[in-house]
Amino acid sequence: MKCFDVLIIGAGIVGSAVARECALLGWRVGVIEGGTPAGAATAAGMGHVVVMDDSAAQLALTAFSRSLWRAESTKFPKSVEYEGRGTIWVAADEEEMAEVGTRQKVYEEAGIAASLLTAAELAKQEPNLRHGLAGGLLVPDDGVVYPPAAAAFYLAEAKRLGAEVFYARALSASHKQVRLSDGTELTADRIVLAVGTECDLLPALPIQKRKGHLIITDRYPNFLHHQLVELGYLKSAHKVTDDSVAFNIQPRQTGQLLLGSSRQYGNEQPEAEAEMLRRMIDRAKQYMPALEKLSVLRVWTGFRAATADKLPLIGPAAGLSEDSSLWLAAGFEGLGITNAPGAARLLVDGMLGRESAIDATSYLPIRLTEPARLAHA
């Protein structure tokens, strides 16, 4: 039986980032992928590297992770398509403009550059937005990446440092033993579940699937310069029950436009739905009427791994499992691309018992276990 210091199950962007981080320590690393590496949520996602301030813990993790992306941005291969495009949060009316002011203060206190745009400044930055919008908040240091290529880069780095990849499904993972679908048995001191939305190895994982649709257009260079997100996005992304759509558009390096996004619970069918696509396009046209004339090349769906408090599960599986060899890096909802490098650091810090750059307790899986929840109630 082959022995490792750590076995990572799942080669999405999160598992790949964790693999590299572990390999950098000189550990013997094994990665197990049952499908295509980076072929699940990571292939479906938008690749917006963005600071979000839903909660203090989310702000801390996204800001930390974004700083890691930025620090490495000049070292990525071209395929990663990293661009520091910046985000503009678009305010439709005066009420949303008031919110822009509040957010700017939050960002400022956290040391995140963010500047107010008047209606005229917004129109100048993005001439294809309709007239009559109230303004916006420009967050210049946010970025855009091509997620599958970023994940492939992390995995290639891990392999270069000696990691071994097994292309088979893990059928069981417990007490330092992993059994693969091709009969291979592996052993390691630590097993990391970086399984995205798949909970069969640990049914106690408190993760729900949240479906999303995306649309990509043909190439229209210079049509768009920043990633634009409607401020109402926060309202709609927060709703835990209803289906929602929000205007969210990203310029790709090829000149293509990636248009998001929908959020749906309780729908585990991967099919693209005409009704959701129509709602997304209608919403987008309310902000950018000129989209009407562009042609769409492809649409697809993906599943976010949602948790009850919208924060990921990073750390030992304690509370969800008695097995002290199990570690989790899952539940990244709509921010797993952004948060992958930060999560990898926090997880490895936890394994080494080393202090982290940010307080890691908010992301520990144990917070979502019954006794912990009751204690907080």
């Binding site: 043909d218 190439r219 229209y220 260079p221 090829t254 004339k293 042609s295």
Partner: protein, 81 residues
């Protein structure tokens, strides 16, 4: 012989017979329909609206499938980059 149509392909005036597709006119003029992401010039391939290789800018609108369009007098056509 019916009157020839006059169209502008990449700023050069070309005369074509009525009934000529825009894709055919671009081939006659030896102009690529589009430039791929990697910078390669492309021309019409399938001629029947499936492959999208013949996309070009027609009267200012980009990504028109030129194999599915007939030339009209005074049309402007440009390589889509």
């Amino acid at each position: 012989m019916p009157k020839l149509l006059s169209i502008l392909i990449n700023n050069v005036t070309c005369q074509v017979a009525p009934g000529t597709t825009v894709a055919a006119a671009m081939l006659l003029a030896q102009q690529p329909s589009r430039i791929s992401v990697d910078g390669d010039p492309r021309v019409a391939l399938c001629g029947m609206g499936i492959c999208f290789e013949c996309r070009a800018v027609v009267n200012g609108t980009s990504h028109r499938r030129t194999c599915q369009m007939l030339c009209e007098d005074n049309m402007t056509v440009e390589t889509n980059s």
